[in-house]
C-alpha cells in the first residue's frame, strides 16, 4: 500500500530522519518506536505531507505522493492524529468531525449560500456519517459539547474519530494512548482493532507504551537518532540486541 524509500529529513545540521525504508502492506498494523527525539513524529510529518522530505520517495497505492500538500495526502486517503492534540478548540465535538467530512461533502460553495434541497440532503449525510464516527468512539453523547471541555482521554479519541471521518485508507496515529490510564488504553487497543477491521484501514502508530505496541502491531520499525535500527515482529524486536541497547542506553542517562 505504501512504499517509503530512503526517507531523510534534515533541520539545518541535524538529521532528524535518516534513510528510512518501509513497506506497509495493505491492512497491516505497523508500529514505529524509538527513544525521545528519535524522529518518529518527523517521519509522520513526512508521511502525511505536513513537511517535505529532504531526500527519498513516498509511494502510496502506486503513485508518488511526496511533494504534495498535506490536504492532498488526506484526500488521497492518508489521515493522521497529532502527538499534542490539535482539535478545533472552540467548536463542538460534532463540528470537529464534520470538518473532516468537508472534502467529501458533495456540494459547491455556491449551493451553500441558498441551502437548497441538494444541500439539505448532503448535509444530512454528513451529520449521519459524523455521528456514526462519534458513536464508534463513544462520544455521541457529547456531540454538542465544546471540544476543549472533553476529558483528556476523550479528546484523544475525538482526534481519532475526526481522522477516521475523512474515510482514510491509511491511518497514522501519533502516540494515541499518551496520558491514558491502563483501562483507557486497553479500551483504545480494542477500538483500534475494531475500526481497522470495520473500515479495512491500514494503521501505522507511534507509541511509547510497549505493552500497547507489542500487543497491537504485527510489524515494528525502531528508530534511533533518526536511523532505522530494527524491523520485525514484536518477538524479534524484543530480542534484538540493538533495540535493547538503544533503550537501555537511554535508561542509563535518565
Amino acid at each position: 500500500m505504501m512504499q517509503v524509500k530512503h526517507l531523510t529529513r534534515r533541520f539545518g545540521g541535524l538529521v532528524a530522519v535518516n534513510g528510512v525504508d518501509l513497506e506497509v502492506e495493505e491492512g497491516s498494523l505497523v508500529g514505529l518506536i524509538g527513544p525521545n527525539g528519535a524522529g518518529k513524529t518527523t517521519c509522520f510529518n513526512m508521511l502525511s505531507g505536513v513537511i517535505a522530505p529532504s531526500e527519498g520517495a513516498i509511494t502510496f497505492q502506486g503513485k508518488r505522493v511526496d511533494g504534495k500538500k498535506a490536504y492532498q495526502f488526506t484526500q488521497l486517503g492518508i489521515a493522521r492524529t497529532f502527538q499534542n492534540i490539535r482539535l478545533f478548540k472552540s467548536l463542538s465535538v460534532l463540528d470537529n468531525v464534520k470538518i473532516a467530512c468537508h472534502f467529501n461533502c458533495g456540494y459547491s460553495m455556491f449551493r451553500s449560500f441558498f441551502h437548497g434541497p441538494v444541500f439539505q440532503r448532503k448535509e444530512d449525510e454528513i451529520t449521519e456519517h459524523a455521528m456514526e464516527m462519534l458513536k464508534i468512539f463513544k462520544l455521541d453523547h457529547d456531540a454538542h459539547e465544546i471540544s476543549t471541555n472533553l476529558a483528556y482521554g476523550e479528546q484523544r479519541r475525538l482526534e481519532i474519530a475526526r481522522a477516521m471521518a475523512t474515510r482514510p485508507k491509511m491511518l497514522l496515529l501519533d502516540e494515541p494512548a499518551a496520558g491514558m490510564n491502563p483501562t483507557e488504553s486497553a479500551e483504545l487497543m480494542d477500538l483500534i482493532r475494531f475500526v481497522r477491521e470495520k473500515f479495512a484501514t491500514t494503521v501505522v502508530l507511534i507509541e511509547h507504551d510497549m505493552k500497547f505496541v507489542m500487543g497491537l502491531c504485527q510489524q515494528i520499525l525502531v528508530l534511533d537518532y533518526g536511523t532505522p535500527i530494527a524491523y520485525g515482529n514484536p518477538a524479534e524486536i524484543q530480542a534484538n540486541p540493538k533495540v535493547i541497547e538503544a533503550y537501555l542506553g537511554k535508561d542509563e542517562e535518565g
Binding site: 498535506a70 449560500f113 441558498f114 444541500f119
Partner: protein, 335 residues
Amino acid sequence: MGDYLKKWAMLVGACLLLFVFDRYAFWALNGFWQNLILLAGINMVAALGLNLTNGYCGQFSLGHAGFMAIGGYATAFFTMMFAWPDWMLTFPHPEFPIVFPISLILGGVLAAAAGLLVGIPSLRLKGDYLAIATLGFGEIVRVFLVNFEYMGAARGQTNIPQYSNFFWVYSIVLISTVVILNLIRSSPGRAIISVREDELAAEVMGVWTVYYKVAAFLLGAFFAGVAGGLLGHLLTILTPEKFNFVLSIEIVVIVVVGGMGSTSGVLLAAVLLTALPELLRFTSGAASIPGLSLLGEPSMRMILYSLTMIFLMIFRPKGLCGNKEMWELWGRKGS
C-alpha cells in the same frame, strides 16, 4: 424542499415590507435620523464582509477601505458613465432604476476581483504581516484614486445620483445576513472557520486552506465593494480621503466590538458604533466639566467615545457576543 422555498419567499416578502416602509414611513423621519439609519446599514454590510475575513477565517485584514473605494468608484462609474440603454435608467422608476442594483453587483465583483489579486500573494503572510500588507493595499488604492483624473482625482467624484435609500440598504443588509449565515452553517463555512481554529489541523483534515482563505478574502471584498457603492450613492460625492485607513479601522472596530465571528453581534455593533459618535454630539455641550471643558467640545465627545470602548473591552474582551450568535447566548441563559 417546500421549506426551502418558503424561507426564500419570506425573504422576498420582507424586502417588499422594507419597500413599503421606505415609501410610506421613512420620509417622515428627519434628515439626521434618516442619514444615521442609512449609514448604520452601510456599515453593517461592510462589517459583515470583514467579519468573514477577520472573524470567521481569522485573516486579519486592514485593507477593507480599499475594497470599499474600488466598489464605490466602480458603482458610480457604472451608474453615471456607462452607456446603458436609456430605458434602464428609468425602469421601473427614475428613483429606483434597475441600473443601480446591477451597478452595485458589478462594483462588488470588481472589488472581489481586487480581493483575489491581493489575496493570493498576501495570504501567504500571517498575522501582523498580513495586516501590514493589506494596509499597504488600501493606501495604494487611495493614492491611485488621488491621481485618477477621470473620476475627479483628489477633488473626488461629485454629482453621484442619490439612489441609496432605506429599501436598497436594508434589503441588502437582510440578504447579506441570510447568505452569510447560510454559508457559515455549511461545509465550506466550517472549512473557513477551521482555518481560524487551527490551520495545520484543518489542512490535515483535507481542507485546502489556501483556497478557503482566498475565498473568505474575496467574499469579504465583495461585500465591502457593495457597501462602498451604497455609500457613494448616499453621500452623492466620493473622495479618496473618505477611504483612508481610518475607515478600515472603523470597520475593524465594529467587528471586534461585535465579536469576531458573530454575525448578529457585528450587526448590533454597527448600529451602536455608527450611532454613538453622533448621539454623543448631543451630550457634549452638557458634559463640560470644569477643567475638562478646556479641551473643547469635539474632544469631550471623543473622550466619552474612547471610554465606552475601553469599558467594553474590559467587560466584554471578546466583543459583545464573542463568537456566538445572540440567540445562542440567550438560549444558554434560559436553560
